[in-house]
């Protein structure tokens, strides 16, 4: 390489590190790969099952509120059902991937540039999906709480007045704001990194 800054002394420093290579027997790696895959599959099944059970419970509650003409309740549980339905679909995709033989096929076939870029994009996509799932769920909790207060207003034995549920609602709103702000900041950082990678080839030439 031409016109390089004088850094000839870094090569020997790098090469003369006191490190010891580690060669792991193939059988040990095979066992570990098997264990990892088993764990990934088990986790995927558990998460899919949880999402499915939640979907059934929320769906049933939504149906129940329709029958009893509780429209606030219906709106809340229907939103929760939609949110968990989305989660079930996502978890099913994870389940399908976990069942594939090779867990990370890209690591070998993609160049470092493409792999890094696609990993960032996957993270961005995962973040987007989590936000899509969380938004209706948070909204449904708010609707259910407010709805129950409105419904019970006429009940003389109804103890918690609006002030009693207000702190919960406020905490929920603050938490949601913090959650979405954090998500959007991380997403912005990843998008900037992807943009800088896109500009990289053009920029340096």
């Amino acid at each position: 390489m031409h016109d390089e800054p004088p850094m000839n002394d870094l090569g020997p420093i790098w090469k003369n590190q006191d490190v010891h290579g580690e060669s792991i027997p193939a059988q040990q790696l095979r066992n570990r790969a098997h264990k990892l895959q088993k764990r990934a599959r088990r986790d995927a099944v558990i998460q899919f099952a949880i999402a499915l059970v939640c979907l059934l419970i929320f769906g049933r509650l939504a149906l129940h509120t329709v029958i009893s003409a509780d429209w606030f309740g219906f709106a809340g549980w229907a939103l929760a059902t939609v949110s968990t339905m989305y989660m079930v679909v996502q978890q099913f995709r994870v389940l399908k991937t976990a069942w594939a033989t090779n867990l990370s096929p890209d690591a070998a076939t993609k160049t470092c540039f493409d792999f890094y870029r696609s990993t960032l994009q996957q993270n961005l996509e995962r973040m987007r999906r989590a936000t899509y799932a969380a938004l209706p769920l948070i909204l449904s909790i708010q609707i259910l709480v407010v709805g129950s207060v409105i419904r019970e207003r006429a009940n003389p034995y109804f103890v918690p007045p609006i002030e009693a549920v207000l702190p919960f609602c406020l905490i929920m709103v603050v938490w949601a704001a913090w959650f979405f702000y954090g998500r959007s900041r991380s997403a912005r950082r990843i998008r900037a990194e992807i943009a800088s990678l896109d500009a990289f080839e053009k920029d340096v030439s």
Binding site: G21, E22, S23, I24, N102, S104, C112, F113
Partner: protein
């Protein structure tokens, strides 16, 4: 050649280089050991589909760097500001602890500190350069064109050299 034979051949030829690579990606000794094992696992797994698509060296470094980059991205969620662009690296404070160290150790520690703060792509280019690869080989592994490899390495080296020589002296 089968998956196990390929892995054994690669592991024998590149075990020290892989250990150096893990050192450049993870400062914590415990996590570094886990990363090195993760790299070996990914390598063994990858040979299932090697099919002589490229040279063994390119394949090994590609898998190792990609596995390590995934590790960096995972770790970065916990410390989002830990990686710097080349511009920011110029002005970042020196985090090296000078007390009771030989000049060689101090130089290595400073080099590692700088490398640990590079973003994955810059780090990959620099590490491959330090492993004495030419720009064509680096280009094949990273997917960056040879011309751009040369320019970017020149930039990284210039920043590292300024930062390095701005600190204490060491034996050559």
């Amino acid at each position: 050649m089968g998956q196990d034979e390929l892995y054994e051949q690669a592991s024998k030829a590149y075990d020290t280089a892989l250990a150096r690579l893990a050192h450049a990606y993870e400062a914590d000794p415990e996590k570094r050991r886990d990363l090195l094992q993760e790299i070996h696992l990914a390598l063994w797994r990858s040979f299932d589909r090697f099919e002589d698509r490229c040279s063994l060296r390119t394949w090994v470094y590609r898998v190792a760097h990609n596995t390590a980059a995934s590790h960096v991205i995972r770790e970065r969620r916990a410390k989002p500001q830990s990686l710097l662009s080349l511009e920011d690296l110029e002005t970042a404070p020196d985090a090296t602890n000078h007390a009771g160290k030989t000049e060689h150790h101090l130089a290595l520690e400073r080099l590692m500190d700088l490398i640990h703060r590079l973003k994955p792509l810059d780090r990959q280019l620099m590490l491959l350069y330090l492993e004495e690869m030419d720009s064509a080989s680096i280009a094949e592994i990273t997917g960056v064109s040879p011309g751009n490899v040369r320019i970017q390495i020149h930039r990284i080296k210039a920043v590292l050299a300024r930062r390095f020589h701005g600190g204490t002296t060491y034996a050559r």
